[in-house]
Structures are given as structure tokens and as C-alpha cells.
């Protein structure tokens, strides 16, 4: 079996505070194969967005990243100087952000921003770069593509801006795209269109995608594999069909019980809920971080929890799941 395109082992992100530090990401492991779509799902503050920024080395300057391994296509990203990292970014690994209005530069035209990465990373003429930009704008479903190049971001709707972001990420033909909540700010019909497009392009170009989301519906419909994060850790990960068929971690089960599903939940019935709040991520954090909110918690949960396996073969970090 070939090596994964991206391999992450024991990734930590710490944010120093006045007293101690906030341990936002606490030793997570995952990998992404070529051509595969991995979803990282979790609620606000679980560390999913910082994980994506850590991969691109785009963390806020205060945040500290450390990892046992952060390997992309055979290269160790932790040892890479920033200049070499900049050669990868936007080139072989690209990012799509949540809010295209704030992540596109309002002072530059669409054409300018689209061609920038290509002329930065490849030996191409301005005309070649422009042709590729037009081609990709058409591919992501933008009509009158050539005339859009002279427009500014504020002249486009939210859905169109997100299509521009996707085209921009594709400019250099990346092997990996990291998309952080790419459709959260969009209307439902536009969300479906954009995700449909992303999946289509991913298959067409054989790219790997890491998609960060809070929406289990998005995960179920688009992912090959999924990693569920809670309080800075991955608590359950595996193939998406296995995980949704038999979620093994109490947090995953709790999340799924919270969402109304037409045809499955009865209208007006009480939805499931997860009592309590997320623990503070400062200071000592031993054992299962979910145990204070968990109906199945036992004394043993205060100790380090080993990985086990759920019914569908997914990896679960819960003492009540079968130990590996």
C-alpha cells in the first residue's frame, strides 16, 4: 500500500495565555489518502479550524504548533522553512475559507487574484494564466467567465464568490485542498450546488480534500472518512457509512440525536441533547474530556483512554467500546 498523501501524528496546538496555556488541539493523529475526502467534524472550540490552519502553517502568531510527524507527499512539514512552505501553499496544497467576502481581497480584481498563485508558482505567461483562470471559472459554473476577471469581489454574490475561491484553489492543480466550512455562510440550495461541485472536481482531478464542518448532514453526504473532534481530540474516526450506521462514541451519538431528520424524527418531539458544557482546555486534562457530560461515564474514564473499535470497524476512544 502506498503512503498516505498527508500524515499527521500527535499534532498539538497550544495558545499561550497569561497563566498557562490553552491546549486547543491535543495530540491528534489522522491521514488522508490521495483522492480521498476526509471530513473533520465538531462544534465550536473543538479545534477543527486550528487543525486546518496548523496544516498550512497559517496559525495566528501566538499559537504554537508541535507534532511528532506532519508529512505531506513525503516531505516533513515541521522541518520546512517558511520559504519552502510558501512554495507548497496555494500550489500543491490549497485552502478554501468559510467567508469568501473576507478572504478575497476587496481591492484587487477577480482576475488578479486568480492568476497570482499561478504566476507565483509556475513559469507561465500572463496570457496563459488568464486562459487557465477563464477555463476554471467556466468549470466551476460561472457564466461570462472572461468578463468576470475585471470584476471586484463585492460585485459578486456569496455563491459566486465561493465558486471563485474554489477556482482559485484549483489554479495550480493542487494535490490537497483544505476547505474550512466552505458553505456555512451560504443558502441551502447554493450549499448543495457548491458541495456537489466540490465532490465532482475532487473526483475529476483526483485531489485529496480535508473538509472542516460542524454539519453532520454535510459529512454524511460528502465524506469518504470522518474524524469527530471534541475538546481538542479526535474521539471517533472511520469510514463514513460505518460510523453513521453504528456511532460508537457517546458524543457522536449525542450529536446525531440532536438533529431533526425529516421522516425520521417525529415533528415536535423532544430532540436529544447533550447536558453540561465543554470543559476548559487549560491546565491538566487527563482521561476522557467528555466524561462530565456522558451518561455512561465510569471511574476508569478519568484515566487515559485507549483506542478501541466500534461495530463498523471505526476507531473509538471510549472505554465502553471494544479495546483494539
Amino acid at each position: 500500500m502506498s503512503d498516505p498523501l498527508l500524515e499527521v501524528r500527535d499534532l498539538h496546538v497550544d495558545i499561550p495565555l497569561a497563566h498557562g496555556s490553552l491546549r486547543a488541539v491535543r495530540g491528534i493523529d489522522f491521514h488522508v489518502d490521495r483522492g480521498e475526502l476526509l471530513c473533520i467534524v465538531g462544534e465550536s472550540g473543538c479545534g477543527k479550524s486550528l487543525t486546518s490552519l496548523a496544516l498550512m502553517n497559517l496559525l495566528p502568531s501566538r499559537a504554537r504548533r508541535r507534532a511528532a510527524a506532519l508529512r505531506f507527499a513525503g516531505q516533513d512539514l515541521t522541518a520546512l522553512p517558511e520559504r519552502r512552505m510558501a512554495d507548497l501553499r496555494g500550489n500543491r496544497m490549497a485552502m478554501i475559507f468559510q467567508e469568501p467576502m473576507t478572504s478575497l481581497n476587496p481591492a484587487y480584481t477577480i482576475g488578479n487574484q486568480l492568476t497570482e498563485a499561478l504566476t507565483r508558482h509556475r513559469r507561465v505567461t500572463a496570457a496563459q494564466a488568464r486562459d487557465r483562470a477563464v477555463h476554471l471559472l467556466e468549470r466551476v459554473g460561472i457564466t461570462a467567465a472572461a468578463s468576470r476577471l475585471g470584476q471586484y469581489p463585492h460585485q459578486l454574490s456569496g455563491g459566486l464568490r465561493q465558486r471563485v475561491m474554489i477556482a482559485m484553489a484549483l489554479m495550480c492543480g493542487p494535490e490537497l485542498i483544505i476547505a474550512d466550512e466552505p458553505t456555512t455562510a451560504l443558502d441551502v440550495t447554493i450549499q448543495a450546488q457548491i458541495l456537489h461541485l466540490l465532490r465532482e472536481l475532487q473526483r475529476e482531478f483526483g485531489m485529496a480534500v480535508v473538509l472542516i464542518t460542524h454539519d453532520l448532514g454535510v459529512v454524511a453526504r460528502i465524506a469518504d472518512r470522518v474524524a469527530v473532534m471534541y475538546a481538542g481530540e479526535i474521539v471517533e474516526t472511520g469510514r463514513v457509512d460505518a460510523l453513521f450506521a453504528a456511532p460508537a462514541h457517546p458524543y457522536t451519538r449525542g450529536l446525531l440525536a440532536c438533529i431533526p431528520v425529516p421522516g425520521r424524527t417525529r415533528p415536535g418531539e423532544m430532540l436529544g441533547s447533550i447536558p453540561g458544557i465543554v470543559p476548559s482546555l487549560t491546565g491538566n486534562l487527563d482521561g476522557c474530556a467528555f466524561r462530565n457530560r456522558c451518561g455512561e461515564a465510569r471511574d476508569i474514564c478519568a484515566r487515559t483512554v485507549p483506542w478501541g473499535h466500534g461495530a463498523g470497524g471505526q476507531a473509538v476512544r471510549c472505554v465502553n467500546a471494544g479495546v483494539a
Binding site: 460542524h214 438533529i259 431528520v261 425529516p262 447533550i274
Partner: protein
């Protein structure tokens, strides 16, 4: 038969858009001739994409905006701007973002008690008792009474907003995307609270949302808006089982239920939301509609009754073909 608690008759809200000093201003019809009835005790969901006019309707019902034309009736009586304060006792809002809808410099008990002060209800001691009771009802602890909004989580803040809305004992609560800024687990708690409050206080909800799964869970009836107009209204079960308007069908097709293997649907809508300053002639939806015919590009479809609802479409979907 008693009059509906709220009724809109051909309501319009037109904004003039300046196009420079000498040009005639353009007109933007945020709401373009809406007829809608909300009956006592029901939950009516208003759905549609951003810019379709949902929030403008909510703001007109709250008296925060005045309609350009048309009538709004409360219990069969015209909503009179001069009697806004009296109306405000009966219609209360819950807004989307509990981070910006609460005054950060007031304590929770001041925020919840403010409507009572404004309307001069009760003595200071009575007001305190009523506020304490309301905090209880929405599931906040007594110790939260002296907290400031920035000391609370998103879910707790939304509970404060709900307490503020209910302290006046309104008949109607207008919920404008009340859970879309919240995490999934918190959203479930707030939806559960809204369901039990509706039962305990006999409330009427106008529930504005873009989350169709939440709408299916909460609504008795659903009204679908597109580009300032209502395109379809029907009972919940009927609408979800047999959408008549192609836009309604596209909306329903876009719901991503947590069912792996189904893949990402393509709602089959070409193009993007039209420019509301220069809306397409005829049916506003025709540029994105796969079924559009010549007539759809010329005539505005009028509402017509179909079994179980009302639809404004020249070529509505037949039952069974949806």
C-alpha cells in the same frame, strides 16, 4: 369564525435605490405583494433564501418597518403606527444572533425586565418576581440574573432573549433564525424549549428559517418565499411530501440529511439568485427553473388553490410526480 391573529393583505415594501444625482432612483421590492394569514396557536414557518424578504416581513409585523403599501391586521384590526406600543405587548421578537441582540452593558435581569419598565407594568418588586419567574421558565439559574451577556454562552444568551420576549406574555412570537448561530447540541436545547413554551403558553410562532429540517420539526404550516413573493403555502406534511412549486422542490432536495450513501444532491438550479433591483419579468424564478415555458417569462403567476395549499406557478408539479 374568529379573525386570524395576524394577517397580511397585499403587503409591499419598496426601497428606492439611488442611482446618482440626476437619475431616477431604482426600486427594490423587498416584499412584493404578500397575502398571508397566521392563525392563533399555529406555527407558521417562512422559508426562502437570503434576500427573499423573510426578515422584512418580520420587521413589518414588529412595527419596526412600515409597509409601502398594503395592510397588516392584528386580530382583524389594522396595525396602526400610533398604537405600536400596544401592539408590541402582543408581538415579540427573538432574533438570530444572541451576541448582538442583547445590550452588553445591562445585566440579564435588566434586559429581561426592560419591556415591563417600558410598558409601566407592576411595581419594582412585582417586576423582579416576574423576571425571576421568566428565567425559571427558560431554564436559567437564579445566579444568572446579575450576570452580563458576555459571561454567558450562546445558548444561555438565546434563553435570555426568549425570556425577554415572553415576559410581556405576548400572543405571537416572531422567531427570526433563532438557532442558526448556535452549535448543533445547543440548537436542539433551544428547539426543545420553543416546543415546550408553545405548549405551556399557547403561543403562536412565526418561525423564519433556512433550515428545512428544523422547519419540518417545528412548523404546522410552511410558506415559501422567493424574490419578495410567496410562491407556495401548505401544511407541513403536504408540503414536504408533495411540493408543488419547482423552487420548493429544489429547496427540499437541498436538505442534507445525515444519511451516507445518498451523496450530495444537485438541486438542479442553474444560475444564481437574480438581481432584486432588476427582477426578471414574469415569474421571478423562471431563469433558474427547468420547467419554465414562454408564459413564465411574461406573466406573473397568481396564487391559486391546490389540494392542501396555495401555489403561484403556471406549471405546478402534479401530486405523485414530485
Amino acid at each position: 369564525m374568529t379573525a386570524p391573529v395576524l394577517e397580511l393583505r397585499d403587503v409591499r415594501k419598496i426601497y428606492p435605490i439611488s442611482r446618482g444625482l440626476f437619475a431616477k432612483p431604482a426600486r427594490l421590492a423587498a416584499v412584493d405583494g404578500v397575502d398571508l394569514v397566521i392563525n392563533r396557536g399555529e406555527t407558521l414557518a417562512l422559508v426562502g433564501e437570503s434576500g427573499s424578504g423573510k426578515t422584512t416581513i418580520a420587521r413589518m409585523l414588529l412595527g419596526l418597518l412600515e409597509p409601502t403599501a398594503g395592510q397588516i391586521l392584528v386580530d382583524g384590526q389594522a396595525l396602526d403606527p400610533a398604537r405600536r406600543k400596544a401592539m408590541a405587548r402582543r408581538i415579540q421578537p427573538i432574533f438570530q444572533d444572541p451576541y448582538s441582540s442583547l445590550n452588553p452593558r445591562k445585566t440579564v435581569s435588566q434586559i429581561v425586565g426592560l419591556p415591563l419598565v417600558v410598558h409601566g407594568i407592576g411595581t419594582a418588586a412585582e417586576r423582579r418576581a416576574r423576571v425571576a419567574e421568566m428565567l425559571d421558565v427558560v431554564g436559567l439559574a437564579r445566579r444568572h440574573a446579575d450576570a452580563y451577556p458576555n459571561q454567558m454562552s450562546g445558548g444561555q444568551r438565546q434563553r435570555v432573549a426568549i425570556a425577554r420576549a415572553l415576559v410581556m406574555r405576548p400572543d405571537v412570537v416572531i422567531c427570526d433564525e433563532p438557532t442558526s448561530a448556535l452549535d448543533v447540541s445547543v440548537q436542539a436545547q433551544i428547539l426543545n424549549l420553543l416546543v415546550s413554551l408553545r405548549r405551556d403558553f399557547g403561543l403562536t410562532y412565526l418561525f423564519i428559517s433556512h433550515n428545512l429540517a428544523v422547519v419540518e420539526h417545528l412548523a404546522d404550516r410552511v410558506a415559501v418565499m422567493y424574490l419578495g413573493r410567496l410562491v407556495e403555502q401548505a401544511g407541513r406534511a403536504e408540503l414536504f411530501a408533495h411540493p408543488r412549486h419547482p423552487y420548493t422542490r429544489a429547496l427540499l432536495a437541498s436538505v442534507l440529511t445525515p444519511e451516507p450513501g445518498l451523496g450530495v444532491p444537485d438541486p438542479g438550479l442553474g444560475g444564481s439568485f437574480p438581481n432584486p433591483i432588476a427582477p426578471p419579468p414574469g415569474c421571478g424564478f423562471h431563469p433558474r427553473c427547468a420547467r419554465a415555458a414562454d408564459r413564465c417569462r411574461i406573466d406573473v403567476p397568481q396564487p391559486s388553490a391546490v389540494p392542501g395549499g396555495i401555489v403561484s406557478c403556471h406549471l405546478p408539479l402534479e401530486q405523485g410526480l414530485s
